[in-house]
């Protein structure tokens, strides 16, 4: 035995260390956790006198302690996203996997529970071939199980159709039939040859859960999440922590990190300090102002990656003076996007072009030049419209960067002679006001649900939704967007989105401010971690070095 350990045992016996200090030091000397009980006996304690060694044994595993700002509310995948990002981080691609998924940190699709798929020549039917895999409770992953997971979202009368299912419309609006041809073959038939089906099936709501668990727990499924992913649920103390452990039987091989402890810590500063004191290995959200300090500290690193989000202003044409196109265009010219990039985001921000964020089909940097920051032009347009004296209210959310960003925009608009006042509302009131079309200008962002441009182009600008939020109806844009949904040639598809984007910019109901990045802070030894494009945090490829 190591001399230092021998000396340590003697010191402990002499009462120079508390049990806790003793265990910590012993582990520090490289003693395995399993050997701890023996050391206690050597120091003269009764065997099994304490539970500490067992707990410390757990600590000695390769554990990742991750701090997240959000609460964890409901880890049922069909509800994911409805209660914020806490659930998505914990569940998506960690506990649950879909039949397809994104390559970590990108938006290109790769096989997941399905190893391959055939698309019929008419683009209407997709046949998926599933791999042999099992849920954490041992139930095999079958085509029937996948079918049940999809149908519980579509069919209101399904016994597992729980309240709050959010993405049915986005994912399944073109789906007419789902058939389990045999245990490993699943066919999805569409009413029109939409190419959005595959990326939509990679969405976090389409994670597949065990039908046995659904049957056993019913409405309390959320307390017993059972998927087929690399991590299985261990325990959950609401509002505090959510613990998962490595799945030995994961089809992709056991992940390197043995256990992940997700902790909810709402305050960004507190989370950063916990990273600094070693209470956390990872904080999934850094304030942009803290990024340089973390980057400059050798003990830590800043983790980033493609993150798909667009920040924008909605200009509601139902409300004067925004019914005048000149006023809307004036606002486009007036906003200093580079200033937001610098002041609010400390550079971690791409200046806005079209609605589609960078990294996706249909993003084009040249669209930045449609509305360059030219206050003089904005003033002229405003004069032309003769609408300078009307008071405008800019609605924004009260948390995070929003108030500051709203102030910057307010100053920009006042500089061209508009009278702008700010109204900050917390999220619930904010969204219900927009959904009721009671706002004039609203500042918000669209965090992509899928890795496909359709998710913003159709969901935001189709008449059905744009009418309320921007008072915007453009049948041509509608047509371009629905055509793009069934266009199989990527080049042609990009052109359709570009054309629609140009049209939307010309009509000017929507100011693309920019695309925020997202930064996580981690201990230097944490490798293989990337910010997921949808705000997810995928642990399966992560390794913890020394």
């Amino acid at each position: 035995m190591d001399e230092r350990v021998g000396a340590l045992v003697m010191d402990f016996k002499a009462g120079r260390y508390t049990r806790r200090q003793f265990i910590r030091k012993a582990l520090g000397f490289g003693v395995g956790a399993a050997a701890l009980p023996a050391l206690f006996e050597m120091a003269g304690e009764r065997p099994g006198a304490s539970t500490w060694p067992a707990a410390e044994a757990a600590a000695a595993q390769r554990t990742l302690v991750a701090g997240i700002p959000e609460g964890i509310s409901n880890p049922d995948p069909v509800i994911l996203g409805a209660a914020g990002y806490g659930d998505i981080k914990v569940v998506h691609n960690n506990i649950n996997e879909g039949i397809v998924r994104f390559k970590t940190g990108t938006v290109s699709l790769e096989p997941s529970l399905a190893t391959s798929w055939d698309i019929s020549p008419d683009g209407l039917s997709y046949t998926f071939h599933l791999r042999p895999a099992a849920f954490h409770d041992g139930t095999p992953v079958t085509a029937q199980a996948v079918k049940l997971n999809y149908e519980r979202q579509i069919d209101d009368k399904n016994p597992y159709h729980f309240q709050g299912i959010t993405y049915t419309e986005i994912v399944f609006s073109n789906v007419s039939k789902i058939d389990a041809l045999d245990a490993t073959t699943l066919r999805i038939t569409q009413t029109r040859p939409a190419v959005t089906l595959l990326p939509n099936l990679a969405l976090f709501a389409e994670g597949i859960v065990s039908p046995t668990a659904l049957e056993k727990y019913g409405k309390d499924y959320a307390m017993h999440p059972t998927g087929s992913g690399p991590y299985k649920f261990e325990r959950w103390t609401k509002g505090v922590e959510f613990v998962v452990t490595a799945n030995d039987k994961y089809w992709g091989g056991r992940p390197s990190v043995d256990r992940v402890i997700w902790k909810t810590v709402a305050d960004n500063t507190v989370r950063l300090e916990q990273l600094r004191t070693g209470e956390l290995d990872l904080t999934t959200l850094l304030d942009f102002k803290d990024v340089p300090a973390v980057r400059g500290d050798k003990r830590f690193k800043v983790v980033s990656g493609t993150f798909l989000a667009t920040q924008y202003l909605l200009l509601n044409q139902h409300k004067p003076p925004l019914d005048k196109k000149e006023v809307r265009q004036a606002i486009q010219f007036a906003v200093n996007k580079a200033n937001i990039q610098k002041v609010t985001f400390y550079g971690s921000y791409t200046v806005g072009a079209g609605p589609v964020p960078p990294g996706l089909l249909g993003y084009d940097k040249s669209l930045e030049d449609v509305y360059p920051h030219t206050p003089a032009k904005a003033k002229a347009l405003l004069q032309q419209a003769g609408a300078g004296d009307v008071a405008i209210t800019l609605l924004h959310k009260t948390e995070g960067v929003w108030p500051e960003e709203a102030q910057l925009i307010q100053a920009d608009l006042q500089a061209i002679g508009l009278k702008v006042s700010l109204q900050g509302l917390e999220e619930a009131a904010f969204y219900s006001k927009i959904n009721a079309s009671e706002h004039q200008i609203a500042l918000n962002d669209w965090v992509m649900d899928t890795g496909d441009p359709d998710n913003i182009m159709y969901s935001v600008f189709s008449t059905k939704r744009a009418r309320q939020r921007m008072g915007y109806e453009n049948p041509e844009v509608d047509k371009l967007n629905t055509d793009a949904q069934v266009e199989r040639n990527p080049d042609k598809r990009r052109d359709l989105y570009l054309k629609a984007s140009r049209m939307i910019l010309a009509d000017a109901p929507f100011v693309t401010l920019g695309y925020p990045q997202r930064a996580m802070g981690a201990k230097a030894g944490v490798d293989g971690l990337l910010v997921g494009p949808l705000g997810d945090v995928v642990i399966r490829g992560v390794k913890i070095g020394s």
């Binding site: 409805a82 993405y167 986005i170 509002g239 810590v265 709402a266 600094r276 004191t277 619930a428």
Partner: protein, 318 residues
């Protein structure tokens, strides 16, 4: 006494009903609706309408309240919109941690507050008195979220003597909440939360003791030659304490309110943290449940205060 208690408990029931109606109306008039929040802007008006229907939000208020009340009297407070689990489960799961935090804070606040108030009253208008009252003013006016973060920076980050946040060692799990590690995690949030009641108690103790010391019997005692400190300790202090007991009980109730912020700063797994989440999500069921719990706690503390008063003060008769 028994009749008095029975009367108090009887008043208790309609008060709770009134609280539940008020909460029901207030949470619904606060603006924003849970369906809109769940779907954000990611769904069409049709989806929104469908979700509202599923959540039972399309019924008229009296009908909604009727459903809730009928279930509530059977002990079922409904299911949380946010988590889908039972409100009673969520509350029982979180309440012990808040209780622990509140009691720990009172353990700090009561002895210190009474001590400071007593010293101030015994030496009025001296430097000690002014300093204590200035400190009290700070305790009342400093916002908890600021005090919390300052304590974290000094004691957890600079000095490193206590952890930054959380309720237990991360590898230990959350329970049991006993043991040295849990205690280390408890110190900062309890101290933060203790600031306000300590200041309030010190002020009450000071004024109450000063009042007693100016009463006739105190002067008589002095006139017959009793030493001042003995007068304070034997005669004035117990009498001055009576109104302070009521304050202690009420402040324990208010602590639940203070805990809302303290728990958020320190990631403390209590009911305050839960209430914030519920309010932000317009989780009507959960808000109604937690507020009802606050009301019950307040009412019970009030009854306790009255009873203790009666026991301590022989002049009170029912």
């Amino acid at each position: 006494m028994v009749r008095y208690l029975a009367r108090r408990v009887l008043i208790f029931v309609p008060s709770l009903m009134l609280v539940s109606i008020l909460t029901f109306v207030m949470v619904r008039t606060a603006g924003g609706d849970p369906a809109s929040l769940k779907l954000g802007l990611h769904a069409s008006p049709e989806s929104l309408a469908r979700l509202r229907r599923e959540m039972g939000l399309t019924d008229p208020w009296p009908v909604q309240y009727g459903h809730w009340f009928a279930d509530a009297v059977r002990g079922d407070l409904g299911r949380s919109y946010l988590t889908g689990s039972r409100v009673t489960y969520e509350i029982l799961n979180r309440f012990p941690a808040t209780l622990e935090l509140a009691l720990a804070s009172m353990l700090i606040a009561v002895p210190l507050g009474i001590a400071v108030g007593t010293v101030s009253a015994v030496r009025p208008r001296t430097l000690v008195d002014h300093l204590s009252m200035l400190g009290g003013l700070f305790g009342i006016s400093i916002p908890t979220f600021w005090l919390g973060v300052m304590l974290i920076i000094v004691f957890a980050v600079w000095l490193g003597v206590v952890p930054v946040a959380g309720s237990n060692d991360v590898h230990m799990g959350v329970y049991p909440i006993t043991g040295w590690d849990a205690l280390r995690h408890l110190i900062l949030p309890a101290a933060t939360l203790a600031g306000w009641p300590m200041a309030i108690l010190a002020r009450h103790m000071r004024s109450s003791l000063l009042e007693v010391l100016h009463q006739d019997y105190a002067r008589t005692a002095r006139a017959k030659g009793l030493r001042f400190l003995r007068l304070v300790w034997r005669h004035a202090f117990p009498n001055a304490l009576i109104p302070v007991v009521t304050v202690i009980a009420l402040e324990t109730g208010y602590l639940l309110g203070g805990a809302v912020i303290t728990e958020t700063v320190f990631a403390w797994p209590g009911i305050g943290n839960l209430t914030i989440q519920a309010l932000a999500a317009r989780d009507y069921m959960l808000v109604q449940g937690t507020v009802l719990l606050f009301a019950v706690v307040f009412a019970v503390l009030n009854i306790i205060a009255d009873v203790t008063n009666a026991l301590l003060d022989p002049r009170i008769r029912y």
